[in-house]
Symmetry: D2
Subunit: 498 residues, 4 copies
Amino acid sequence: MRLTVLQPQHRTPEPGPEAREKCGVFGVWGEPHPARTTYFGLFALQHRGQESAGIATTNGEALERHADMGLVSTVFSPETLSRLDAHAHSRPGPTTRPGGAIGPNRDSTTGASLRTNAQPLMGYFKGGHVAIAHNGNIINAAALRRRLEDDGHAFATTSDTEVVLQLLAANAQSSLFSPTDALAAALRELKGAFSLVFLFRDRIEAARDPWGWRPLVIGRTSDGHPVVASETVALSVIGAEFVREVQPGEIVTLSDNGIESRRFADADIPHAHCVFEHVYFASPASTVFGQSVQMIRERLGERLAAEAPAKADLVMAMPDSGRSAATGFAMASGLPYREGIIPNRYVGRTFIKPTNEERITAVRLKLNVISEVVKDQRVVVVDDSIVRGTTTRIKMDQLRDAGAREIHLRISSPPIRHPCFFGVDFPEPSQLVANGRALDDIRRLLGVDSLHYLSLEGLLEVCGSPSVPAGHYCTACYNGVYPIEIPAGLAKDMMGCC
Amino acid sequence: MRLTVLQPQHRTPEPGPEAREKCGVFGVWGEPHPARTTYFGLFALQHRGQESAGIATTNGEALERHADMGLVSTVFSPETLSRLDAHAHSRPGPTTRPGGAIGPNRDSTTGASLRTNAQPLMGYFKGGHVAIAHNGNIINAAALRRRLEDDGHAFATTSDTEVVLQLLAANAQSSLFSPTDALAAALRELKGAFSLVFLFRDRIEAARDPWGWRPLVIGRTSDGHPVVASETVALSVIGAEFVREVQPGEIVTLSDNGIESRRFADADIPHAHCVFEHVYFASPASTVFGQSVQMIRERLGERLAAEAPAKADLVMAMPDSGRSAATGFAMASGLPYREGIIPNRYVGRTFIKPTNEERITAVRLKLNVISEVVKDQRVVVVDDSIVRGTTTRIKMDQLRDAGAREIHLRISSPPIRHPCFFGVDFPEPSQLVANGRALDDIRRLLGVDSLHYLSLEGLLEVCGSPSVPAGHYCTACYNGVYPIEIPAGLAKDMMGCC
Amino acid sequence: MRLTVLQPQHRTPEPGPEAREKCGVFGVWGEPHPARTTYFGLFALQHRGQESAGIATTNGEALERHADMGLVSTVFSPETLSRLDAHAHSRPGPTTRPGGAIGPNRDSTTGASLRTNAQPLMGYFKGGHVAIAHNGNIINAAALRRRLEDDGHAFATTSDTEVVLQLLAANAQSSLFSPTDALAAALRELKGAFSLVFLFRDRIEAARDPWGWRPLVIGRTSDGHPVVASETVALSVIGAEFVREVQPGEIVTLSDNGIESRRFADADIPHAHCVFEHVYFASPASTVFGQSVQMIRERLGERLAAEAPAKADLVMAMPDSGRSAATGFAMASGLPYREGIIPNRYVGRTFIKPTNEERITAVRLKLNVISEVVKDQRVVVVDDSIVRGTTTRIKMDQLRDAGAREIHLRISSPPIRHPCFFGVDFPEPSQLVANGRALDDIRRLLGVDSLHYLSLEGLLEVCGSPSVPAGHYCTACYNGVYPIEIPAGLAKDMMGCC
Amino acid sequence: MRLTVLQPQHRTPEPGPEAREKCGVFGVWGEPHPARTTYFGLFALQHRGQESAGIATTNGEALERHADMGLVSTVFSPETLSRLDAHAHSRPGPTTRPGGAIGPNRDSTTGASLRTNAQPLMGYFKGGHVAIAHNGNIINAAALRRRLEDDGHAFATTSDTEVVLQLLAANAQSSLFSPTDALAAALRELKGAFSLVFLFRDRIEAARDPWGWRPLVIGRTSDGHPVVASETVALSVIGAEFVREVQPGEIVTLSDNGIESRRFADADIPHAHCVFEHVYFASPASTVFGQSVQMIRERLGERLAAEAPAKADLVMAMPDSGRSAATGFAMASGLPYREGIIPNRYVGRTFIKPTNEERITAVRLKLNVISEVVKDQRVVVVDDSIVRGTTTRIKMDQLRDAGAREIHLRISSPPIRHPCFFGVDFPEPSQLVANGRALDDIRRLLGVDSLHYLSLEGLLEVCGSPSVPAGHYCTACYNGVYPIEIPAGLAKDMMGCC
C-alpha cells in the first residue's frame, strides 16, 4: 500500500495513505516534562494521524491545551511546550510533583468545523475540567447523540468524542455515582472501537473497548512515572519500559498513586483485535497484541512465498510499506532482494493537484522505477495490501516500460472487500479494486503476469499466538463477518466520527 | 476619553479604549448577499468590539460559520464571504430565496481559550443547528451554569453564551414546549444586560433584555428584507431604513414571513438604558434610545458650558471622542473652536509595549500637541469622560509645556465611581481616578487650573425625552444605584463573561 | 482630501490617500537604543508611507536590517528591535558607544518585486557596507541607469535608490575620491527631489536636493545624540529638540563626532519647496519650511473665508484633512463649527473590493453624514483639496439626501491640473476632476450650490515668510510651471521610482 | 549516512544530511507550462537542496520570479505557478510559443540575508533582464568580488551568484563582445565547481565548469522541448528523454531554435567529477557521469562484501541511504537482507532542539531498532559513509542494547578526512570522525566488533567506466589531492558561497 498523490485540492491535508487510522493517543502522569514527553510520544505515533495534534496538561485544578491542524512538528513550538509544562508544575498545595499530560494525533473531517473539532476535546462538567483523546469509532454515537439531545443536551461540535463527554456529564449528575463511577457508566453505553484517554484534574483515565479493537498499552518511564500510549513504539522512543496492554473492558488510572485498574465491562466479551494493525497500520517498531509487527510482516512474506512461489530473478518491494514482507519473501524463496523502486522522500502530504496529464508524472515523482534493476528481469513485487489499485496499476505499467520481462505481484494479506466500521477509513466499497472482481480480473486490470494474495488462513496463522488465538481477530474487511451488529445506515453517519 | 497606549504585551490586542463595550451584533434575512451585507454591518459596528468577529449563515438545514481573532477587515476575505453566501443560497426545496446571516464583533477574554470561545457560538440541540451572537453581560450566568452542571450538562467553553445555549437545549427537551417557546423560557431565566441574536435553520430570533440596557434595532433593506443590528449606523451604511427598536423583553423573528414579534417578559419591568451609550460608546452617527447621539453630545457640551463656563481664549477637544461636546461648548460659550491636539491615525490596537522611559513618548505619539495653537492661551479642553486619568495627566503636562497659560478641563459627564455589571468593562474601581477623590483632588492630580464635570442632572436632562424619560436610564456607574440586585462575588466571575 | 475606498484588489495595500507621498526617513546616531528610537520616529512619520518599513543598524563594521511590507506596527516586533539594537552595541574596539540606525516608511510599487525592493536598500561597495533610505523622485534616474548599464553595471532591483548606490560605487572606484567625496560626486549627478539618508559603517550621511523639494531636519535628543528626520513631528515624539533644516544642497554627517556639514551643490540654485506639504502631506504637528503646518492650514481657512465667504448656518469639514482649514474658516466667518460627517476609524488600508452596487455603501461606511446636524441647514463644507472628486460627489449627494438646504463647498488650495514629477503620486491628469474643467463645470459635477478654491496668490501669501518667500515654492501641480526641465517620456518611467 | 537530529535552533531549517549539496537546477524552454514543469523537476531534485526554491519565467521581454524559503511543496501554490506560466505565454509579437522557465533548490546561508539571497538571482544589465541558478562553489569568488568593487561595482547581496552577474555585466559593456560572448568571457574567469543555468529574455544558457564537478544534463520532452537539469531523475519524472550531458567547459543554449552548443573553455582540461555524487548525493534513480547510481551503489556493496566479508547471520542497512549498498552486500555474501532499523518518516527538517537528555530520545525517534530482528544475532550493518559519527555511535549502542551479539559495520566508501571546496558542505575537518583517527580507534569509538571502509581503489574501480575512467574523478575528500589550487584562507570565505 502507498500514498495517494492525486489530491482534490491544493494544500488541504492529503488523504495520505489509502486507508487511514483515526488517531494515536498518549498520556503521562507526574513526569518532570509531561508536555514535552507527550510531544515525543505523539511524534512516534504520527503514522496514526497526520491532520491535527494537541496536548493538554493539568495543574490539579484546571487544564490547559494547545491544538492545531498539522503534523506534530509544526503544531508545537518550544514555547508552547514550556507553557504547557509550566502549567503542569503550577499545582497548588504542598506537592512539588507536576500533573500529567495527554494528547492525540488525528485524521479528521475537513472543512469549516476543523478548529472547533480540535482534540483533545475540552469540557467542563460537574466533575470539573476534562480533556479527552479518542482513537476508534463508536458505532452507536448517532443514536446516543439523539437521545442526549432529546434529554436537553446541546452539543458544540459534531464529533463522537463530545458524545462521550456529554454521557460522562449526564452520568455524573446523579448522586448515585461518584465522578469515577460515572465514567464506567458512560463507557458501558458505547458500542464499537475505542481507546480513550481522559485527563481529569487529578489523574489520567485510559479505557479500551470490551472487544479490544485498537491497541492501548501502559508503560513506565525510567523514573517510574506511568505512561499510556496507542503503541509500544511511543514507549521505546521515550525510553519507557512496556508494562502491559490495557485489557479490553478495563479502565486504568494513572495518578500520584501510580497505576490502578478497574473494569467497566465483563471480561467474557469475545475479543476482536483489528488484524489490519499487523498488516499495515501499526509501526513495524511496535509490539501489538503481543507480537512484534516487523516480525509478523516478515513472516507474512515468508508464508506468502510458501503459498504462492514464483519463478523469478529477484524480489522487490512496493516501498515503504511492502518492504518487510518483501524481505521475508526473499528469505523464504532464496531469491535476491533488491530495491527497484525508490520513493521520493519529499512528496509529503501537501501537493499541488495534478491535472489529468500530470497524474502519471505525479506517480513517477513519488516512486521512481530503476530501469537498470528491472530490465529483462522476472521480478516479484511484494506489497502489503491493495486498496483502490490506481497507483499499483500505473506503477506496474512503468515496470513494464522499464523492461521487466515478467511481473509477479504478491500481496501479503487477503483482498479487502468490505467496509470497516471500527476505525479504519477505507474508501467506499465501490472504489475497492477487489470489490466484485475475481482474482484474474484484478490481475488483468493491474497488468501483471501473476497475482496472489495471502489467504485469510495464512494471515491468521501468522498473527495468531497462544495468548491471542486466531479467533480473537476482527477480519470483517476481508470476509464481511462483523463481530457486533452494525446499525442500519451507519455509513452515512460515519463522516463526522472520531 | 481616549486610547491607552501602554500595553502589557506585544501584539496582544490592546485593551483599546479605557472602557470597553462587549459586542456589536448584526443579522439579516433573505437578502441576496447576507454574509456580505453582515460584513458591512459589522464594519459599521466595529467600535463595539475589536478583538474578534464572526459570521454564520444558514441554508435552511445547516449553518456555516467563519470566525477569528482580529478586526472585521482582517477576519474576512472575499472568498470567505462568497462561501458563506453560497451556503445561504443552497436551500433545498422549491424556494429560490437565500437564508440569513448573523454575526458579532467582540471584545473578549484573552489567552488559550480564545479560539474555542469564538463567536457566533455554534451548537446543536433538539431544535437543530443554532448560532448565537451576544452583546451584554448576564449576571446570573455562574449560578445558571452550576445548576446546569448539576443537571448533567457539560460545557465546551467558559462563555456566558454557552449557558444560553444549554438553557435553550434544556428547555427544548420537554414536550410541553415548541423550540420557539423554549427560547422564551430560556430567556426568562437570564438576569442582566443582553441583546441576543440567534440564527436557527429557518429564521433569526433577536431578543433584548427586559431592562433594555443595550440598544437593538430592526430595519428593512431597500428591497424589504428584515435586518437587526446593535445600532442604527449599521442600517444607514447598508442603505436600510430604521423600523423601530426591539422592545425590552421582546423577541423579534426575522424569516421568510418578514418580521414577527412576541414577548418573553412583562412589559412593566422598569427600563434601565445605559446612559454611557450616549456619553461614549455608541457611534455619533447612530440614533440610540430614540435620539441622535451626535446631537446629544453637542448638547452635553452646550449644557456643560452653561453649568461651568470658563474665561478663555479658545475651546479644544481631547480627540476624537471629546470633539462633539467641544464644538457644543464652543457654540454655547461663543469661544472659537480650534484643533490643538492631533491624533496619530496609525497608532492602532497593536503596539509594542513601551518601557517606563518610553511612556511619555507613547502618549506623545498618539496625541500631538500643537504648541503654536496653545502657546500663551487660556484654553478650555473638553473630553467626554475620564476613566484612569493617566493619559489625561500626561497630556495636560504637555499642554503646559507647550506654553498654555491656563487650562480649564471640562468633562461632559459625571465622575465614574462605581463598577458596571451590565456590559461596560471599566477597570477595577481602585483604578478610577474619581474613586474616593474629591473634585479638587482630581484637579490637582491632573494639574489643571479648573476642572468641572457635567452634573448627573444635566446629563439626564439632555438625554431624557418624552419617550425615554430620565428615570429610564441606568446611571449606576455614576451614583452606584443598580437597577437590579447584584449577586455577591460577581466581580470575580465577570472575567469570563460574554 | 480623503481616503479612497474603491479598491482594485482585496488586501493589496490600498492606494490610500488619493495623492501619495513617497517616503518618510529617519536616522539617529549613538543613542542607547537606536533601532527602538527609529521605530518611534517612523511611527510618527507613518503618514508619509504606509506600504513598507525597514530599519538598519551598524556596529561599526557591518550592517543589519529588518524590512517588510506593512505598517510600522506590524513590521517590527520587540525581538526584532532588540536584535537590531544589540547589533548596534556590538562595536569592536574600545568604544562603548552604539552605532546608529536609519529607516524609511515607503509607498512603493507593487507586485513581484516588492520584497526585492524593500528599503532601506542595502549594498556592498569599495567603501564597505551601506544602507540607503530615500524620499523623493529622481527625474534623471532612467538616464543614469542606462549609462551605468553601458558601463558594465548590473542592477538587482528596479528602484531609483539602487541607481544612487551604483553611482556611489562608481565614484568610489577612482583613487581621486575618498568614499566621502564619492558621495558628493554621486549626488551632483542627481536631478529632482530627494532627501536621502545613508547609513555607513561609521556614520550617517543625510543629504537634501539643491532645490529643497522635500523637508529634512536635524535635531538632538535630550542626551545630545544627533537625529535626522523628514519632519519635526518625529523629533517631538522622541523628545528631541529641533536644531535646523538640512539645507538644500547640503550633506550633514551624524557620527561619534556629532554633527558636521558640507555642501555638494552651489547654494545659489533657486529653491523649490513643495507647497503641497503645507496643504496636505505634512503632519499638522510638524513645522515645515519654517512654519507650523497646523497654523498654516488654519490661516488658509481664514483666507478662504475672506476670498469666498458664504451666507450659511454652519461650517463643517471633510474629515480628517479638511478640519484645520474648516476651523479657520469658521473663526474668520463667525459661523459655528460643527461636526456633520463622522469618519469610521476602522476603515483602514485593507478593504474588500466593493462591487458596483456596494460603492455607495463603502463611502457611507467611511464617512457617516449626521442628518440631524445638516437637515434644513445652509452648510459650508471645507476640504483641503480635491483630486479625483469621486468621493466628494457621493458625499455631497448624501448631504443633500440628509436634508441640507444649501451646500457651499470651499477648498483651501487651488485646483490641481498638472502632474508632479517630484515625489507626489497624483493619478494621471485625465483623472483629475479639475483637469480641463471650468469652475462652474466642476461645481455642477459635484452637485453643490457654490464652489470656491483658494487662489494661488492666497496660498502663497499664507505660506510665504521672510525666510521662505513665496517664490521659493514649487507650485507646478497648480500652474504647470516646473522649476527644472522634465525629460521627455518621464511619466512612463515614473512607475518604478523611489 | 543519515539525518542529524540535534538542531541548534527551533524551526531553522535543519542542516539535514550531515553533508549537504549546494543546489539542484532545472530549466525548460517553450514547453506549454514551463513553470509547472519546472515545479515537478525541482520536486525530483529536492534532495539537492531543501532550504529554498524559486522559479523564474520569461515572456521574451521581462522576467518574473517567485522564490521563498522552504521545500518546493510549500513555496509554490497553483496560483503562483499559473501566474508564472501566464507570464511565459504573454510573449509579444507573432509567436504563440511560450518562453521558458528555470529554477533552483538551494541549501544556503541562514539569517537575515536569506530573503535577499533568494534564488534564482535576478538582475538587469546591458543585455537585459536575467535570472541565474547556480549549483556549485566558485573558489575565486572573493577575489573576483574585490576586483569588481575596486572597479566601482556595488553588490546587493553576499552571494557568489551575484559575482557571476556583475562579471557578466562588466563583460557586456565592451563593444567587442556580444552579450553572448560576454557570458563565455565571464565564465572563463570562474574557478571551481559550477553548473549554472541562466534565463535571458529569449533563451536559457546552461554552463558546466571545465572540470565537470557537478552533473548537468540535457533532455527533450515528449513534444520536443529542450530541458536542462542537474540529474536525469528530473527528466524521467516529467517524461522527457535524456539527450546527453552538458560537457565540461560547454555552454548549451535552449531557445526557439532548439539546442545549440559552444565551448567557453578548452576541452583538454582534466576532468574531476565528484565521486561523492555516486556515493551519497545523487538520486539512486539518476544516471550520473554515465552510470546508474543505484547500480553503482549495489556494486559498491558487493565490492565491500568481497573486500571485507563478515561471519554473520544477517545484513541490514542504516536507512535510507545505506540500503542500496546493503542489498548488494547481502547478494554478494549470501546472507539474508533484513530491515532491523525503521526510520520515522515524519521527522523532517523542522524539529524542536532536544535538550542533552533528549538527544538519545531524538535518535531513537528518527531510527527505531527492531529488537526481535537483531536479538542474539551477528549483524552486518551497511552504511554509505560516516561524517561526524554521532548518530552512528548512538545507534550502535542501541543495537547492542537490543541484544545484537556481534556488530560488523561496513561503509561503502573510504573515510572522509579532508574538506571539500567544490560544493559539498562537510563540517569542519575537526568534526569528522575519521580525521586523525586510525581505523581501530574509530571502531572502538563507535563500539562495534569490526569496522571496514571500502578502499579508494575499490570505489574507483566500481565508478570507473570506459567513458569516465577512474582518473576523471575528484577524490579530494578522501585523499586530500585537489585537482586545482585552493586559494589560501578559502575556508573562511566559504560561508557565504553559492
